[in-house]
């Protein structure tokens, strides 16, 4: 009897992270309130260890559990993005929770479990594994969204998110079932092999499966028309969770989409790139146009996150190497920038007084010059102004689309990014060119956690904009990732 090939190496980061989550629950059990202050730093330490373990496996390309999971450079890049999102969100969380009497240790454990889900999405090479990853990412998020109990908005958001998430999952499962029916496997490589057969390619089962899988992940990344939950859920959830969700859930969803499309369905690339072009156009237009109208900053950032999903979709729709690398870089840039923007919001919020109204940012530059400056950096990066990470990301995905000859998509993408300047810069104008209308921002206490998070976000945003390639070998390697990286077999 042959024992299955376990090879835990392929699961190292995910294992460390889930064990760390359990550790946090245990530590709380043993020490209780005494260590409350240190819990967030302990969580950050866990994320750092996980990230380091992932990076130490660079170029190792381990495969485990009969090919259910692989740990290749692609998975490691996504892991690092998830770590960045996690670390910044945890640093922003602690004092936010204490201030609102929401501090419960499970919060951090749930967060780590959810991030573990992203890791599984990044390294799963089997549809079942990817489904598990998606659920592990989502279920803790449903709980965390409703964490501001008894706040009605938060509970309603959690309920909505859960119901619609369940629906999306059912689309996904159905898609997996159809694909299995067409190809006889859930293993991505075997699906790929089965699709060498022309009859399988054109079968309704294959195409139906493909589209339903697309819908399932399209929901997670908030692509139009699967986006409608986004503003409501973003607004209701506690702000640090919104911040995490806006980056982490997207990273997981896009990682899985990239892996599935390039590994399992390259034979029918013309079908899914076509569908992705449609989704990208709809997402860009709706996200950007609706963002203009918002008066709540959280809703604005929600629509903006929809819009950015559109830009990442541009990279995916291009269907070439540059598109893959571009989408990854975009996620990296977006992680620093968007968490930074939410971080400013958190820094300015107090219990019962969320810094949500855009109007209230008027004149902030005179009261909080540093916060206003940081917010300006983030807004410029979201707009895609030179010398910020946002521009470099946009150049990557745009050039991928140009290379693929997708001129209609490119025109829409450039036009909407031009439009996006209005709503991002409106905030900058308010902060620098208006007089304050109330006492907003007069009493701000910046805690070490928030300070660290904001400093990291600003540094990341600016450095990735000025020296994206040579900053660290990591980004260079990220950009070297090709469609082949996703498929490369391990021997």
């Amino acid at each position: 009897m042959n024992l299955p090939d376990y090879n835990f190496t392929a699961l190292t980061p995910a294992l460390i992270l889930s064990l760390w989550a359990i550790l946090i629950l245990l530590v709380d059990l043993l020490f209780g309130e005494r260590i409350q202050r240190w819990l967030s730093w302990l969580t950050v330490a866990g994320l750092l260890v996980t990230g380091a373990s992932a990076l130490s496996l660079w170029n190792v390309r381990a495969e485990g559990f009969s090919g259910m999971v692989v740990l290749d450079n692609f998975a490691i890049v996504v892991t690092v993005i998830a770590m960045i999102a996690g670390i910044l969100a945890v640093l922003l969380s602690s004092d936010y929770l204490v201030d609102r009497d929401l501090f419960r240790p499970e919060y951090f454990a749930l967060m780590l479990f959810s991030i573990t889900g992203i890791l599984l999405l990044a390294s799963g090479r089997n549809l079942i594994m990817l489904f598990l990853g998606l659920e592990l990412l989502s279920i803790p998020l449903y709980v965390l969204t409703g964490f501001a109990r008894p706040d009605v908005q938060s509970e309603e958001a959690a309920m909505k998110y859960f119901l619609l998430g369940a629906l999306a999952s059912s689309f996904l499962v159905y898609g997996i079932a159809l694909t299995y029916g067409a190809t006889g496997s859930t293993d991505l490589l075997k699906i790929r092999d089965a699709l060498q057969n022309v009859q399988v390619i054109t079968s309704t089962l294959t195409l139906g499966g493909l589209i339903l899988i697309l819908v399932g992940f399209g929901f997670k990344v908030a692509a139009v028309p699967f986006h409608m939950w986004t503003p409501d859920v973003y607004q209701g959830a506690p702000t640090p969770i919104t911040a995490y969700m806006s980056v982490g859930a997207k990273a997981g969803g896009f990682a899985a989409l990239l892996r599935i499309m390039y590994v399992a369905f390259p034979q029918i690339a013309s079908y899914w790139t076509g569908a992705l072009v449609l989704l990208a156009i709809a997402t860009l237009v709706v996200g950007n146009l609706l963002a203009i109208q918002q008066s709540s900053l959280k809703r604005l950032l929600a629509y903006s996150s929809i819009a950015h999903a559109g830009y990442i979709l541009v990279g995916l729709a291009a269907g070439n190497n540059r598109g893959v690398a571009g989408a990854l870089f975009y996620l990296l840039a977006y992680a620093f920038t968007n968490l930074g923007a939410f971080g400013i919001m958190i820094a300015l919020s107090k219990k019962g007084e969320e810094a949500d109204s855009i109007e209230s940012y008027a004149g902030l530059s005179s009261r909080q010059p540093w916060l206003a400056l940081a917010m300006t950096v983030f807004m410029l990066s979201l707009t895609g102004v030179p010398l910020t990470a946002g521009l470099v990301g946009k150049i990557f995905v745009f050039s991928a689309a140009a290379e693929a000859g997708l001129w209609t998509l490119l025109i829409v993408a450039v036009l909407t990014s031009v439009i996006s300047a209005f709503y991002y810069l409106r905030l900058v104008v308010l902060m620098y060119m208006r007089d304050p209308i109330n006492d907003f921002g007069t009493q701000v206490h910046l805690t070490p956690g928030v300070r660290t998070a904001l400093a990291l976000a600003v540094i990341g945003t600016v450095l990735l904009g000025i020296i994206p390639g040579n900053l660290i070998d990591f980004t260079n390697q990220t950009l070297a990732i090709t469609t082949q990286t996703l498929v490369a077999l391990v021997h």
Binding site: K160, L163, L164, L167, A168, F171, T204, L207, G208, I211, L212, V215, G218, F219, P225, F226, M228, W229, D232, Y271, G274, A275, L278, L279, V286, L289, L290, I292, Q293, Q294, N321, A325, V385, P386, L387, I395, F396, F398, S399, A402, E403, L410, I411, V414, L415, V418, I419, A421, F422, L425, V429, M433, R434, I466, I467, P468, G469, N470, N476, L479
Partner: protein, 619 residues
């Protein structure tokens, strides 16, 4: 040593950092040393570099400095690199030189402003951005400067944001520039996919080698770049932002909206002239747009009362001359006019600022008059600039404008006619302005006073250049075109004679209407009396703003609020509800077990899935 070109950008940037972070603590005195000082030093470095460049043989006047790889796009790299060659040399001298004078002037003009330090921060940032734009050695660095310049102008136009007009104008400038950027980015992307590089020299070499004249891709690229140029250089149809941009402080108008930023489009076309030469069709379009803009703006300038608005439309009109020249392939002439224009238009704006300063923030020419005696330095320098603009020999504007007219007369008689009429109107409106502001009797009770020396000395320096800059390209004296590697335009005596006579006629007509019997207080404009409704049409700028508002701005706003309001809640919801109703025929229970909103959202998802399946099935 040419690597020192980095210093030219770094010095103003250093000024930005010092003024931004310590400006308020340093106080007005120190800021007024640091702000202008940074640009002054930058000018010195630029001057030394350009002189050394001129010492080299012609074929070696090309030096690139690469800092680091900025963006590694797969197998090729875009550097953060700078290029010093004759073209960028001209630009950096104008930017730092004229910029330095305007910085000094600003010390006097902005004296006592509560945001003094912030003003110089923006101004230094602007200079650094503009230098990046002209020094970049590839299209992406050019684009970086392009965007940053737009951003700075936005900040500076809205500097006095307490005034509604200022913040509106800032928004307008930004919107219009973004439209131009849209074309520019697409153009750059097309260059990249066509040639596989964005590096100037490589692109132009590849273009000359691989493209036939009139190749569709060359036409597409240049048309897209043209959209960018019309945005920055204020040409039809995107010129509308520039006149409103006068809401900023006057030295800003001089620096940005006359001498430097608006020249970015002309510079970009001159830089990519290889591409434009491969696309004769685009050249035609460019030339006609330039000529039409020159005439349209000049006609509007005739009927304005705001001292700065006249000059603003004059700038648009003069940019039209440059663009027309570029369209006809006379890039040397375009750059030459750009240079002389930077002197005399910068001077006109600074002079106007001095007037506004002297009459205590009045901008309406109907309330001025008789300032000749109370502001002698301003008056004399203003007259020099006005005559240069009108094209009276031997002042600088005569030579540069004439080169353009001579080219047009030999190439395209239609364009020549448009430009000649524009030149006549130019002489008329500037004559009208000089007469209304400086001659006759004071039409208000304000006691005007001459500006302090810190403001008048820059005026005098600029006046000297506005007077003599024409000789830079006079055969036997200077060889501006040769420096740029272009053929010097031949002096066409007939054209020169006609345009000089027309300029004199324009000035004479202005004197007949406004000089012979000066306009009295509360008297109607003599031209308005004669032209009637035509004058109103010109005064209201051909109602272009109103038309744009009605046909573009409003529908767009309506679309957005429609999408946000009705579409989001009503139509999608209603549509989804309608589908829900259909679905409920088959499955009534669906309605009863789910709440309204979640159901709508879920049905939107379902609808999306169905549409995608239909798409895949039918393709």
């Amino acid at each position: 040593m040419f690597d020192l070109v980095v210093l030219v950008i770094l010095l103003p940037l250093l000024g930005v950092i010092v003024n931004a972070f310590f400006g308020r603590r340093l106080g007005e005195r120190w800021v007024s040393y640091i702000g202008p000082g940074a640009v002054g030093l930058s000018f010195l470095v630029a001057l030394i570099l350009v002189l050394s460049l001129a010492g080299l043989p012609v074929d070696q006047r090309h030096h690139e400095t690469i800092l680091w790889t900025w963006i590694p796009i797969g197998n090729f790299q875009v550097d953060l690199g700078f290029l010093l060659d004759p073209l960028s040399a001209v630009m950096i001298l104008i930017i730092t030189g004229v910029g330095f004078l305007i910085h000094i002037y600003s010390v006097g003009y902005m004296h006592g402003d509560p945001r003094f330090a912030r003003y110089f921060t923006y101004l230094n940032l602007f200079v650094a951005s503009m230098l990046t734009l002209v020094l970049g050695n590839n299209f992406l660095v050019l684009f970086m400067g392009w965007e940053l310049v737009g951003l700075c102008s936005y900040l500076l136009i809205g500097f006095w944001f307490e005034r509604v007009s200022a913040s509106d104008a800032a928004v307008k400038a930004f919107v219009v520039n973004r439209i131009g950027d849209f074309g520019f980015i697409l153009g750059v992307m097309l260059i990249w996919t066509t040639f596989g590089t964005l590096h100037f020299t490589e692109v132009f070499e590849a273009a000359e080698k691989s493209l036939q004249s009139g190749a569709p891709v060359a036409i597409a690229i240049t048309l897209l770049l043209l959209i960018g140029a019309t945005g920055k250089s204020a040409q039809i149809p995107l010129y509308v932002w520039l006149p409103d941009a006068m809401a900023g402080p006057t030295p800003v108008s001089a620096l940005i909206h006359a001498a430097t930023m608006v020249t970015a489009g002309v510079y970009m076309m001159a830089r990519s002239h290889v591409l434009f030469e491969l696309a004769p069709f685009t050249g035609q379009v460019v030339a006609w747009i330039g000529a039409a803009t020159a005439l349209l703006a000049a006609s509007i300038g005739v009927a304005q009362y705001d001292i700065k608005k006249v000059l603003a439309y004059s700038t648009v009109s003069q940019l039209g001359f440059m663009v027309a020249a570029a369209g006809m392939g006379a890039f040397g002439a375009a750059m030459f006019h750009l240079t002389t224009h930077a002197f005399f238009k910068g001077l006109l704006f600074l002079g106007a600022g001095s007037v506004i300063h002297g009459v205590h923030d009045e901008q309406d020419m109907r309330k001025m008059g008789g300032l000749r005696s109370s502001m002698p330095t301003t008056f004399w320098t203003f007259v020099v600039a006005a005559l240069a603009l009108a094209g009276i020999p031997p002042l600088s504007g005569f030579f540069s404008k004439d080169e353009i007219l001579a080219t047009a007369s030999s190439q395209n008689i239609g364009i020549y006619l448009l430009l000649t009429i524009a030149a006549f109107l130019t002489a008329f409106y500037i004559g009208r302005q000089v007469l209304m502001v400086f001659f006759g009797q004071a039409r208000s009770d304000v006691h005007a006073h001459e500006s302090p020396r810190v403001m008048t000395i820059p005026l005098i320096v600029l006046a000297v250049f506005a007077a003599i800059a024409g000789f830079f390209n006079l055969p036997g004296v200077g060889s501006f075109s040769g420096w740029l590697g272009e053929q010097a335009g031949e002096l066409n005596l007939a054209v020169a004679a006609i345009s000089t006579l027309l300029a004199l006629a324009g000035l004479g007509l202005a004197w007949l209407l406004y000089g012979r019997s000066p306009v009295q207080q509360d008297q109607r404009d003599p031209l308005a009396v004669r032209l009637g409704p035509v004058f109103t049409l010109l005064e209201r700028k051909w109602y272009v703003d109103e038309i744009v508002d009605l046909t573009i701005a409003r529908p767009f706003k309506a679309l957005c609020s429609f999408l946000a309001g009705e579409m989001d809640l009503g139509i999608v919801d209603g549509f989804v509800n309608g589908v829900a109703w259909l679905v409920s025929l088959f499955s009534r229970w669906l309605r009863t077990i789910q709440t309204g909103f979640v159901r709508s959202y879920a049905l939107a998802m379902l609808l999306g899935a169905v549409l995608l399946i239909v798409y895949v099935a039918t393709r």
